[in-house]
């Protein structure tokens, strides 16, 4: 037991309403915790609180009761004995009469009612007393919203948990509740009341059968229908219109006893002009049909059909009323109309399913024999009527089409009936006569081509579609296959041949129609209908298709003919392709091997054949078609891949051996298609083993055999594409296959280039063996290509792929890196990035780093040994070598940086050393001898490429070292590099006194910061900003730096708009403005000028006093920009000028105002 004084203070705090809410809440929790852990008993608490609970001071009493109630809420899971519960229930029930402390009493009741049976539930008679007290003393509708809500919750709990004891209260309770919920208007409460009525109905109508209250209950509900919610912003109430409407719908449909009241109301509202009312009525009607039971609803069948028919056939007048009355909501009308139509269709389908069975066809007959349906059927299928009044007829047609298709779609029985009644008539309208068609199909085409029309075409397509969908759904839901075939099946079987020809002929003569004066819309409609019709005929579910094999073949032949020969009519071409794709995936869905074979034979094989021989269809279109069709299912892609690979191989040979320009262009297209469509599909579907591996190996083999291989310099594009393809193929292969490919490539490379193998073994110093290996020009084109392919394969390897002769491979790549072959450098970097063995890694890094740094450091020592020519040439050779080494070391460094290796530091130091190496050389003047002059230039070039190496290090590459090619990438590696390099660059720039070197250092700095996230830069703003501004001024003289300038300007603009960056930049604002003004006339790049102006605009956000002195300067410079030769710059300048003028205009204005007021 805990001393009472210790927790009594909490009660005191709670009762005192001036205390903060958090403290009161904490008090409740503390006391509840004490009770829960049995430190105090509930009796003790109540005894202690006696004074608070019984005092005559209204406020204190109310708070006291509320406190007790809140504590009880916290104790829902604590077991209490029945006596305690019972006495508490008595207390709270009696307190309901005390309106001043009603809130606490309600919460207390709720806490008791919510108790579960295992922890001591409210007894039945206590619940009844409570309910009686609620009915007697609480006038719900007089209360505030929150209290009303609590009342409804109490009622709900009573109904849910104590229905037995409530039932004994009988009609009193029902009418009491009706009184309580009547006239409720708050949406939050309404959701509860709807639910309440639903529970009430369940208890009293369904279980107790007191039917006489149904009407009264329904009256309470009916006044809310349709839910009209004027409150636009749903968030305020946390209740949306849809929630309310759904809750009301549940209440509406809760009992069949509502039927005599609900259905007339719904049918009445269905004819309303308000779209929401229409939608809701349809939705409710649909639900009522499902819930009220067929017998009760049958009496309304006729009325429902008339109402629905009205909705279908007369949508137009209502739309007009809408657009005039609710012009503000113009955009919603289309949406509503669509919604109404879909709801009506669902409703019709439910109705048919409910009312129609083979024994009772009244409703079906009602629909099919309906006068209006009949009349509109006649009018739309009558010849010539169509073209007169296009729009009106179109609406009628689509309404009729949707009615018929819904009816046919609902069951096999209905489908039979609809087909029997309408299909033969449609065939007649289309001019199909079975007797003639049986004799000769060819003669038939002639007849049909003279007269066909859209109405009949459209309706027959709708019917076919619905029957097809019906089969698919029936097949999916059950296995009873015998009942599938009815009269509809035989009708289609009979007519499918002539129907195919009819659609075909409609497709063949569209030009004639336009010549006769029909509009182009009409022509398109016919094309859409016919293509759809053919597609539907070909997509019946597998073996259950009523379409004979010959028609299926015909259909495919029609489509493929269009694909091959009518590519100029792009609309038709696209539609046909889509249909073919659809048919292909449909065959795959139903797994029909027979149809699959036909499809393969007719479609895929012909398309693949097109790849090999010259056809009139352009290759790009062939590829589009073949990739679309191939990627729809697994079985289709295999021949496609094979065909593509063969085509690529042959055109590769033609392009590289026979030097055919056409094959070169074709190959580029083929490779594009292969890389962008086929390979990604294979990788995502994952069902094909090693796509493309065969292709890569055969390419390599072809290269091995072929000596007459040529790759012209202008084919660099092709070479890049080939390399990319290789990479993409290899990256998708498993490790062992990668290994096979790699071995193959490596061996072929060694065999065909006849490199002296010992040269590759000298790992101690690569440079000694260096001259032994033939140079660029000596390398045959074939060897170079092979090397590039090998490099691409290496680039895309997995981390786990075993490498057998790492040392030799690395040496090979290293040598060619030094010879300036970029792919070799990238491959080298990829290998280093992915090496998993730590020992080998360290050794490798050591070896590579040694070779690079020896090339970079001892400039002149070995050069003469290699080349015994004149001084200038050796210099040239030497610096070229160094530049190559720098590119190599940059890629190498990138690889290490990405995997977070510590040796990056050495690499960046080496680069810095190169950068600073020409610092001490005095710029040459004219009297120096020319040799020196060349030397300096060479030095400068080397240093510049060292500066650019920073760009390589920090930019993202899509050729290698990325996620796609399995690189190891540690997060935030760029940031890490930046923070380690910033101090180095900073001090180097400070100490440097040669202007050329300084420019290069700034260049390196620019590359370092240009891709960096802004937050990193802002954190180091003190160092970054001065350097950034200096680099802008230093670099802007050279046209080669324009991209760099642009990215630096973007960094600067980032500073200008960042809140924290602004604080830092404010001290430099005059320098910034001066720089920006200089850049306004930057001649080399429009984007730079534009961005500079935008930066100036952003500066207007800075404090007035800072920028005021610069105003005239800025405005003067902007006036110059008005004369810019690019329009965008001029417009931006005008905007910026306005911003500046207004900036000061506002301040002066405000200043004047203040003076006036003062």
């Amino acid at each position: 037991m805990v001393n009472a004084a210790s927790w009594a203070s909490h009660i005191e705090a709670f009762v005192d309403i001036s205390r903060p809410a958090e403290q009161q809440k904490a008090g409740v929790n503390t006391v509840a915790g004490l009770v829960k852990n049995d430190f105090i008993t509930l009796e003790a608490l109540v005894k202690e609180m006696e004074l608070y609970l019984t005092t005559t001071d209204d406020t204190i009493r109310a708070r006291g009761i509320l406190f007790l109630a809140e504590v009880l809420i916290c104790l829902l899971s604590k077991a209490l004995d029945s006596l305690t519960v019972s006495s508490l229930a008595g207390f709270f029930s009696s307190r309901l009469a005390d309106w001043r402390s009603l809130r606490g009493a309600l919460i207390g009741c709720l806490a008791l009612l919510k108790r579960k049976s295992n922890v001591g539930m409210l007894a039945g008679n206590d619940a009844r007393t409570l309910a009686q007290s609620m009915l007697d003393h609480v006038q719900v509708q007089l209360l505030a919203m929150h209290d009303r809500k609590l009342c409804f919750e109490v009622f709900q709990c009573l109904l849910d948990a104590h229905s037995g004891s409530i039932a004994s209260l009988g009609d009193d309770f029902v009418y009491g509740l009706i009184q309580a919920v009547d006239q409720e208007k708050d949406p939050r409460c309404l959701v509860l009341t709807f639910h309440l009525v639903q529970s009430l109905v369940k208890l009293f109508l369904s279980q107790l059968g007191s039917e006489h209250v149904a009407q009264d209950l329904f009256e309470v509900l009916s006044c809310y229908f349709p839910v009209y919610f004027t409150h636009k912003i749903a968030d305020d109430f946390e209740v949306k219109r849809e929630d309310l409407s759904d809750a009301l719908m549940d209440a509406f449909c809760s009992t069949p006893y509502f039927e005599p009241f609900a259905i007339p109301l719904l049918l009445d509202k269905l004819s309303s002009s308000l779209p929401l009312a229409k939608i809701d009525s349809l939705k409710y009607l649909n639900n009522c049909l499902l819930n009220f039971g067929t017998e009760r609803m049958l009496q309304h069948a006729q009325k429902i059909w008339f109402a629905l028919k009205d909705v279908f056939l007369n949508p137009l007048p209502q739309a007009e009323i809408l657009s005039s009355s609710v012009s503000v909501l113009g955009g919603d009308i289309k949406y509503h109309e669509h919604k109404i139509a879909t709801e009506a269709l669902t409703c019709l389908k439910t109705t048919i399913l409910q009312f129609t069975c083979p024994k009772n066809v009244d409703f079906l007959t009602l629909i099919i024999d309906d006068n209006v349906v009949e009349r509109s059927f006649c009018s739309v299928t009558m010849e010539g009527s169509y073209s007169d009044n296009y729009d009106k007829n179109y609406l009628k047609l689509s309404a009729l089409g949707s009615i018929l298709s819904v009816v046919a779609n609902s069951s096999i029985f209905c489908c039979n009936r609809v087909f029997q009644d309408f299909f033969p008539r449609l065939m007649v309208a289309l001019g199909i006569d079975l007797r003639t068609s049986k004799h000769s199909a060819d003669a038939y085409v002639e007849i049909v081509s003279q007269k066909f029309h859209h109405g009949a075409l459209y309706l027959s397509v709708e019917l076919l579609t619905s029957s097809r969908d019906l089969i698919a759904t029936v097949l999916e839901s059950s296995n009873s296959k015998d009942s599938l075939r009815g009269s509809w099946w035989h009708l289609i079987q009979e007519f499918s041949g002539p129907l195919t020809s009819a659609f075909k002929s409609a497709l063949m003569i569209p030009n004639k129609i336009t010549a006769e004066g029909g509009n182009s819309n009409y022509k398109q409609e016919i094309i859409i209908c016919s293509v759809k019709g053919l597609e539907v005929l070909a997509t019946y579910a597998g073996e259950h298709t009523p379409v004979p094999r010959k028609s299926f073949e015909d259909i495919l032949a029609v489509f493929i003919l269009i694909i091959i020969s009518r590519y100029e009519e792009s609309f038709l071409w696209k539609l046909s392709l889509k249909s073919l794709v659809h048919i292909g995936s449909c065959i795959a869905r139903f797994k029909d091997s027979h149809m699959q074979m036909i499809y393969n034979e007719i479609v895929v094989r012909r398309l693949v054949m097109l790849l090999h021989k010259d056809s009139i269809l352009p290759l790009a279109l062939i590829l589009e078609a073949i990739s679309e069709i191939g990627t729809c299912t697994l079985d289709l892609i295999l021949p496609v891949i094979q065909g593509l690979e063969e085509a690529m191989l042959s055109s590769f040979l033609q392009a590289c051996v026979d030097e055919s320009y056409k094959s070169f262009q074709d190959l580029v297209l083929l490779l594009d298609c292969y890389c962008t469509k086929i390979l990604p599909w294979c990788h995502t579907s994952g069902s094909i083993e090693q796509p493309g591996m065969h292709f890569v190996i055969s390419i390599l083999e072809q290269m091995e055999d072929n000596v007459a291989f040529k790759m012209k310099p202008e084919m660099q594009d092709l070479l890049d594409k080939m390399m990319m393809t290789m990479k993409l193929v290899v990256r998708g292969c498993a490790e062992n296959n990668q290994y096979i490919i790699l071995e193959k490539a490596y061996n072929i490379m060694l065999a065909s280039t006849n490199l002296p193998s010992n040269a590759l073994l000298v790992s101690s110093s690569i440079l000694e063996g260096f001259p032994l290996i033939p140079d660029f020009c000596e390398l045959s084109c074939q060897s170079k290509t092979l090397l590039y392919f090998l490099a691409s394969i290496v680039t895309a390897l997995h981390q786990q792929t075993p490498l057998t002769n790492v040392a030799r491979l690395l040496n090979l790549l290293l040598v060619f890196t030094l010879k300036g072959h970029l792919p070799a450098a990238q491959a080298l970097a990829s290998v280093v990035n992915k090496l998993s063995n730590a020992v080998i890694l360290e050794e490798t890094i050591e070896m590579i780093l040694d070779s690079f740094s020896s090339v970079l450091s001892n400039n002149h020592q070995y050069a003469p040994h290699m080349l015994n020519s004149n001084d200038g040439a050796s210099m040239h050779f030497c610096s070229n070598l160094q530049i190559n080494a720098i590119v190599g070391i940059a890629w190498f460094g990138k690889a290490l940086l990405m995997r977070g290796h510590g040796r990056v530091k050495d690499i960046s130091m080496a680069l810095m050393k190169c950068l600073l190496s020409n610092q001490n050389i005095v710029p040459s003047s004219s009297h120096h001898q020319s040799g020196n002059c060349i030397g300096e230039d060479m030095h400068y070039l080397v240093a510049r490429s060292a500066a650019d190496a920073f760009h390589l290090l920090l930019s993202d590459s899509d050729v290698c070292l990325n996620k796609k090619f399995h690189a190891i990438i540690r997060p935030l590696y760029k940031q890490r590099f930046f923070s380690s390099m910033l101090p180095v660059l900073h001090s180097a720039i400070k100490e440097c006194n040669s202007p050329r070197t300084k420019a290069l250092l700034y260049r390196a700095f620019g590359h370092t910061i240009s891709g960096m996230p802004l937050t990193v830069l802002v954190a180091d703003a003190k160092k970054v900003l001065p350097l950034l501004l200096d680099s802008l001024s230093v670099l802007d003289s050279d046209i080669l730096n324009k991209d760099l300038i642009y990215s630096l300007l973007l960094v600067l603009s980032g500073f200008l708009v960042d809140e924290k960056g602004k604080e830092d930049i404010i001290g430099y604002v005059h320098i910034v403005i001066n720089h920006l003004i200089k850049l306004l006339s930057y001649p080399h790049m429009m984007l730079v000028r534009e961005t500079a102006i935008e930066c100036l605009t952003a500066i207007t956000g800075f404090p007035y006093t800072r920028i005021y002195p610069l105003r005239t300067q800025v405005l003067g410079a902007l006036a110059g920009a008005f004369d810019d030769k690019k329009r965008t710059v001029r417009q931006e300048a005008v905007k910026c000028c306005h911003a500046w003028i207004l900036e000061f205009y506002f301040f002066e204005y405000d200043y004047k105002m203040n003076r006036m007021v003062l």
Binding site: L1014, L1050, V1051, S1053, G1054, L1056, V1057, M1086, T1091, E1094, C1095, T1097, A1098, T1100, G1101, A1119, F1122, D1123, K1125, K1126, R1127, T1128, R1130, Q1131, V1134, C1137, H1138, I1141, L1142, Y1145, F1146, Y1149, D1150, M1153, N1154, M1156, V1157
Partner: protein, 230 residues
Amino acid sequence: MTLGLINANPVVHAKKERIARAEDTHAADAVDSLDVFDSVRDIRDPEHPYSLEQLSVLSEESITVDKKRGRIQITFTPTVQHCSMATVIGLCLRVKLLQSFPLHFKVDVNVSPGSHADEESVNKQLNDKERVAAALENPSLRQLVDECLYSSSFVCYLLDAEGDLLPEKSFSLLQFRGLSFARKQRVPAKKRKTSRSTLNRNKTVLYNQHSSLLFSGAKKLRAALSDEEM
């Protein structure tokens, strides 16, 4: 007290859609009449909350540009014959062009023949350098011109005595003149680069700061005005 407006009930026309120019990366874009029209079409009429384009005072056809001789000629049509605001409109056009085009262009502003009762004197007044300069030195005239020019990029707000916003529609020039106006949030220009779009986004923030600042001024003004009335 309300003064009668000169044209109380003008005909309002629809705004034409802006033509997006194709960007040619290499060639220079010369100034043409559409450029000029684009820069002046949004000037607000001194009397009504409509732009000159909406009131059909200006059209693209009424502007000619001669690149070789460096001349821009604008002919505008006042809404009514006796419009005393014609000179103000002309002044606005002149100031706007001065602020948007290089100084070497010579600008001629005229009312279209037969559209104004006092055509000759208006034309004379508008093309006389001295008189234009003198007009712009008149503070109240200058304020009127500025309001016409800059309100196109703002929504005009009316404040009630507590400094709360009144609905946007209900203002006329007379109410407007004494009160303040605030910048409208512009929709960011089409996004080209990420950091450029952030630049634009922050512009909006800047403008918001402005408007709060203006409102403080306007509140005081309003208080002053209501004092005077009492």
